[in-house]
């Protein structure tokens, strides 16, 4: 994965709001992953169109934060989700 990768939710994975507590979750086969606010912000930008770079720029604007620092955090978060096959990278 690099700055030009285009992450997207993997097949069979649904971003959902838990109606009981209002919290965002990823639903996938035999699994439910509650998302913290930052991960939710990242995952909801994984359209398959936006590059990692574009996701970072968009988050930097929202958080009024520095792109270089955010890039590391975003890549680490996406790598973990990719290991679990919750996101894949579009070609």
């Amino acid at each position: 994965m690099n700055a030009q990768s285009r992450p997207t939710l993997a097949r069979g994975v649904r971003l959902w709001i838990d109606p009981i507590n209002g919290g965002p979750v990823l639903l996938f086969p035999e699994g439910i992953l509650p998302l913290d606010d930052t991960t939710h912000d990242i995952v909801s930008r994984c359209s398959g169109q936006a590059t990692v770079e574009a996701i970072v720029v968009s988050l930097a604007e929202e958080y009024e934060a520095d792109c270089a620092t955010l890039l590391n955090d975003v890549c680490e978060c996406l790598s973990q989700l990719r290991e679990e096959m919750l996101i894949t990278l579009s070609p």
């Binding site: 069979g12 109606p19 009981i20 979750v25 639903l27 086969p29 699994g31 290991e83 096959m85």
Partner: protein, 362 residues
Amino acid sequence: MLLAELTYRCPLHCPYCSNPVAYPGGGELSTEEWRRVAGEASRLGVLQAGFSGGEPLLRVDLPELVAAFRAAGIYTNLITSAVGLTRKRAEELLAAGLDNIQISFQSDEEALANGIAGTAAHQTKLNAARMVRELGFPLTVNVVLHRGNINRIAQIISLAENLEAERLELANTQYYGWAFQNRAALLPTRGQIAQATQVVGEQSRRLLGKMKILFVTPDYYSDRPKPCMNGWGTRFLTVNPVGDVLPCPTASSIKDLRFDNVRERPLACIWNDSESFNRFRGTAWMPLPCAECPQREIDFGGCRCQAALITGDPMVTDPACSLSPYRDKLTAFVESIQSAGEAGPSFDADTSGISFRQNPAA
């Protein structure tokens, strides 16, 4: 997370089936009763349902049931042998909103796979898996491991990779029900588990980002028990074909537990108030050594069904735990397997001595 066991009927006869050896009486829930369960489950906070059995495709109303759970906002996963999964049915399930299909394979190799299933199903499964990929379904491949197939783990991983599955579950047999009856033939040796663990580690790294491999080792080889159901009555419930609601799919192996039924009480009442869900909830029920163990909120004392099966008492520490006073019962059994060597039952030739799963009387 709700497991909907729609029927005990099944075209396969796997000798490790998790269904009860003695089936409960009563007729299968109707379409309308399952629809009501879907609504009650949603209001209770259930986010995901697995449709299982037996073989859930034997319910002709399966697409209607999937649609009912989807309409209630619940993620739906079909856990199937794929026998009966024609293109027409798959298209109906796609239209109903089914989120994922999980197909079981018994091995990568046809004669062995058919021998384990007790029927010629392997080619049907391959055809069905390819067809559901063509339709765009996400696919999980599930293979239950035991001494008769664990040596083929590398080839099994290749099979799932070739089918382009997103997930591969390599679940070692859990020794309840039919599997407990057959455990002397099914438990792999220590060496086989070590070898399989190494292969899974290598292949997981190679397949990163392409296929997720989930590997479950047998707790007979562990020092600590598995955190069964992530705690009794915390996240999981099973509704069986006749409507009984169980805290875990094999809980009927605990002889004195009585289960409430969705025909008689709403699901939320059963979840919150029934004796069977409250018996092992939390930590107050725990005996020593669990009651004073720093792990008690990590493994929850292990598995109640296993405690009952091995010791006769569902209240005691899971004998998989090295701190259990009954651990030597498991250890003696495990060591007897090592001396028997790696030769498993030759499912493609001689299966004498194996109890194959039988269907309930019609």
